[in-house]
């Protein structure tokens, strides 16, 4: 036993003829904040979606808590309940209000009763600073507010791991900081997080590990100090030169 929460071994994934993931290997420890960086089309989001089984890998293994998540015998819905996901486009349920968004899966999946679900929902809405919007319709919120609710919704399931798929890419610049602040708080509290992001300052400040992906492979991984100050791989250097001005 070790404290690897996620072990990804030799993962491959193609869409038709396009090979999106080519032999991916990496591990995530408990409490780690891993930032996946790289240009678009490099396979970052696909990798994240494979961890949540929204996409299926073609070969290789993904072990979470030493359990193969592609094993037929595991309860997929139970697994997904403990691995939360936050999307670029928020994906709040349009037919439910803010608190309804936070309560439905608690009720349907975790079978919590109404009072308990409500209490949990309010706790996490408070945490992301959205408690005064509990009764608001999800469609009335701004992007930053939606994303904070989406994070609260994921947290309500008490996940062991939280996956973020470019959580700030669809936001107005002034909204980005609110969301990043919430994520920083979560990181400080020791939640295991994998974050696909273009926010290099966030990666620098919060991540324990930065993974640079390029054309479906992990070109380089290491601590943010190493990646951002003296990257070894020339492609990492080139990418960072273009993105950090």
């Amino acid at each position: 036993m070790n404290d690897n929460v996620i072990k990804i071994q030799n993962c491959r994934k193609s869409f038709g003829n396009l090979e999106v993931l080519k032999d991916i290997n990496f591990t995530v420890n408990k409490g780690d904040v891993v930032c996946l960086i790289g240009s678009s089309g490099s396979g970052k989001s696909t990798l994240l979606r494979c961890i949540n089984r929204l996409e299926k890998i073609d070969s290789g293994n993904i072990l979470v808590d030493d359990i193969d998540i592609y094993d037929q015998s595991i309860d997929l819905n139970k697994y997904r309940a403990k691995v939360g996901m936050v999307f670029q486009s928020f994906n709040l349920f349009n037919n439910l209000n803010v608190i309804g968004n936070c309560m439905i899966a608690q009720h349907k999946v975790l079978k919590r009763n109404k009072q308990e679900a409500q209490k949990t929902a309010m706790f996490f809405l408070k945490k992301v600073g959205m408690e005064q919007f509990a009764k608001a319709a999800s469609t009335q919120l701004s992007g930053g507010q939606k994303q904070r609710v989406a994070i609260a919704r994921a947290l309500c399931m008490n996940p062991e791991i939280l996956l973020f798929d470019e959580p700030t890419s669809a936001l107005d610049p002034e909204m980005v900081q609110d969301v990043l602040d919430v994520m920083k708080t979560l990181a400080k509290e020791g939640l295991t997080m994998i974050v696909v992001t273009h926010e290099m300052s966030f990666a620098k400040e919060v991540a324990n590990k930065v993974v640079f992906m390029d054309k479906g492979i992990i070109a380089e991984e290491g601590s943010p100090q190493v990646i951002f100050t003296k990257p070894n791989n020339p492609r990492t250097q080139e990418f960072l030169k273009r993105i950090i001005r």
Partner: protein, 257 residues
Amino acid sequence: MKYLTITGNQFIDACLSILITFWPSLLLGVKTVLLVAISGTIIGLVIGLIIGGLRAIKVEKGSIIYFIKWVYDILAKCYVEIFRGTPMMVQAVFIYYWLKPAFGWSPIIAGIFVISINTGAYMAEIIRAGIQSVEIGQTEAARSLGMSAQQTMMSIIIPQAIKNAFPAIGNEFIVNIKDSSVLNVISVTELFFQAKSIAGSLYRYEETFLVTAFVYLFLTIITSFILNLIEKRINKTKTSFPTSSTTTNMVKAQGEH
């Protein structure tokens, strides 16, 4: 049988007399129209939800369920094409007489049956389109929280699909109010059937059917009005949105100027 004495030569007078004298039988026709149209639309919607909902489910290739789904899709397509592609009048006559020996049913039950399965074919397509109009992200978010495919469909997708499809569903209801008139071929005593009897007994076709047309128009206009109210209500987000401090301050500031 009552005979109408038309005193004035005026066309309008004749129409009014028909309305005044024969309103009980017209009202009976209206009741039947509403019974047939309302039950036909509701049952049709249920049929559409089941057939359209199942059609929207995607199954992974290579399993036995995939084959069952493939057969189901073909059958569902046939049902939709047959009932959308033939006149309801023909369906009514055929189904009524074909199944009469087996069921021994009355025209009104047969009429509701025909209008229901006919509406169901349209509703199946409406619901399928409604489901497809819900973003894939909604499904992904629900599944990522651990909700099953069925839970996602019932509590997230269908409510939004019905909301998106509501104008089309309401339209089907209005169409049914008008199209129930074809059921006179199997002697359902709806409005057109009543009008035909009145006109026949009086030998006054123009006046009777003008009155009848106005009754239909009255029904459809009232229905559209009610449907519009419901639509507005659905779209109005039922919340107490907190006034943010910035807007209140802005309003105050504007008021002071």
